[in-house]
């Protein structure tokens, strides 16, 4: 009886401690669990793969450092894929607090592939007002963003000379941690202007994307850290990058953490069901 009671009431400090160990140990000593690409992740990869060299891929950073472990590796992997194929990249964001991450990712990856600002990639940054920005770019990107993140007029950037609006963007990806994000782009850019788009979301909001995947409004989906690891797997498999894959490394920790939580839930339920049975028995005896 005591064992079952203990199972149903494990101290939260013990849970915290075991979870910390389960997360930290695989980061130091990786197990090497492989994330093979799902069809959803492959669809995003294939869409980027189908962009002809010289044409632009647009990425929206709709997250902040809170969702960095899941979405930042996606951003890095997608940038590596695009730059390796000589696809031009336009980065912007609907979350002001994510702009520093955009700057960081672009600086890191552009230097790996010797890409030049204004010629191979442009960082538009953030503008206040969500809907006017998303809808405005459907009409004219340069009117919505007269200058880039650094204050340089878009007219003066060589890469932007042939890009007017969404019609000139073969593929778009929203890396979204909530609202504004994927849903905003689907409702206003995809539905109104027919923008071909994919999304990368946090694992917790991946379920929200399924209706749009079925309707074809989303070409593909990278769901959580697993989605990032799958994209990294594809980028490495094709030989586009040899850099350390952050999400792939972290997947070991996440796998074990999930397993631990499930074990705890099972143990908790065994304890709970046993106590309930005993209480019923005692109640019946009385």
């Amino acid at each position: 009886m005591r064992v079952f009671e203990a199972l149903a009431k494990i101290d939260r400090k013990i849970i915290f401690l075991i979870l910390a160990v389960v997360i930290i140990v695989p980061l130091i000593k990786p197990i090497g669990l492989i994330s093979k690409a799902s069809t959803r992740a492959k669809a995003v990869f294939d869409a980027v793969e189908s962009i002809p060299p010289g044409k632009p891929l647009m990425i929206s950073i709709d997250f902040d450092p809170g969702s960095m472990p899941e979405l930042y590796p996606m951003l890095l992997a997608i940038l590596r894929h695009a730059f390796a194929r000589d696809v031009k990249v336009i980065v912007l964001g609907l979350w002001l607090t994510g702009m520093g991450l955009g700057e960081q990712a672009l600086t890191t990856v552009a230097s790996e592939y010797s890409k030049k600002y204004g010629v191979d990639y442009v960082f538009l940054g953030w503008r206040s007002g969500v809907l006017p920005v998303v809808l405005g770019m459907g009409e004219d990107i340069k009117k919505t963003f007269p200058t880039d993140y650094y204050g340089t007029p878009l007219e003066s950037l060589a890469m932007m000379s042939n890009i007017r609006n969404y019609r000139d963007i073969p593929f778009f990806i929203s890396l979204s941690a909530g609202d504004p994000g994927m849903n905003t782009w689907i409702a206003y850019a995809q539905a109104r202007y027919g923008l071909k788009m994919g999304a990368g979301t946090t694992a917790v909001s991946a379920a929200d994307a399924y209706p749009y995947l079925q309707t074809g409004q989303l070409t593909g989906l990278l769901g959580g850290m697993k989605g990032a690891a799958e994209y990294e797997f594809l980028v490495k498999e094709r030989g586009y990058s040899k850099e350390i894959s952050q999400a792939t490394q972290a997947m070991d920790s996440q796998s074990l953490a999930h397993l631990l939580i499930l074990i705890l839930i099972v143990l908790g339920n065994i304890g709970y069901l046993f106590i309930r049975k005993q209480t019923k028995k005692l109640g019946g005896a009385r």
């Binding site: 997360i23 809170g66 700057e103 399924y210 796998s255 339920n269």
Partner: protein, 219 residues
């Protein structure tokens, strides 16, 4: 009059935007672009209002020495420093502070972001993992039939969504995918339809002046 003009404007522009969506004529497109430009301009005022109310709220807290007023000082000082650093384009170049050099890689704004905001924000969210593990252990109990169903679905999705799931059985990710693609999708679609219909109804009430809450000031 103070309430009539906004209501009339809302009615005119609301109906115009609905009609415009279905009219691809160049005049209609040009009008749409003008409206969008106006929306962009007006939305900037929201930023001014936001900054104004933030300063006012925290200044009042400091003046009245309300509990936790020290945090308000931190908020205001941080906001002022960050704004100044960004506006003045302060950069750290070759061990010196230089001004009006933009907000790029070497900017103090980016240094603040990478060394203060990223760790603080990440730490806050990282702690959630621990609370969620503890909460899942306590809350996921098979108390009712519905809770048991939720428990079983969560079990398979959690296991199927990580590589260890496919290592246990290749069927697990397939089953997790089925849960997401069929029962989840059906429920989500129902919710989305509900939200969309509710949105249309509310929008019509606002356009027609039945719902006036957005005007503020109670009745």
């Amino acid at each position: 009059m103070q309430r009539q003009i906004p209501l009339i404007l809302c009615l005119i522009f609301g109906i115009f935007m609905i009609v415009q969506f279905f009219v691809p004529h160049p005049y209609s497109q040009r009008a749409y672009e003008v409206v969008l430009r106006w929306v962009r301009i007006i939305s900037i005022f929201a930023l001014v209002l936001g900054v104004g109310s933030l300063v006012l709220y925290h200044s009042n807290k400091i003046k009245r020495k309300v509990s936790g007023w020290g945090f308000s000082i931190v908020t205001l000082v941080s906001a002022i420093i960050t704004t100044l650093v960004g506006l003045l384009g302060v950069n750290w170049l070759d061990g010196k502070l230089v001004f009006f050099k933009g907000i790029g890689k070497s900017s103090v704004l980016q240094i603040f972001f990478q060394n203060i905001f990223v760790p603080v924000n990440s730490t806050m969210f990282a702690m959630l993992a621990f609370y969620m593990a503890s909460a899942a252990y306590r809350a996921f109990r098979a108390r009712t039939k519905e809770a048991t169903l939720l428990l079983i679905a969560a079990f398979f999705v959690m296991l199927g969504m990580v590589p260890i799931g496919s290592a246990i059985s290749p069927r697990l990710p397939e089953f997790a995918e089925w849960i997401l693609s069929v029962p989840n999708l059906a429920a989500k679609r129902g919710i989305l339809f509900g939200i969309a219909l509710g949105g249309i109804a509310t929008s019509l009430k606002i356009i027609l002046g039945i719902e006036r809450g957005w005007l503020g000031g109670g009745k």
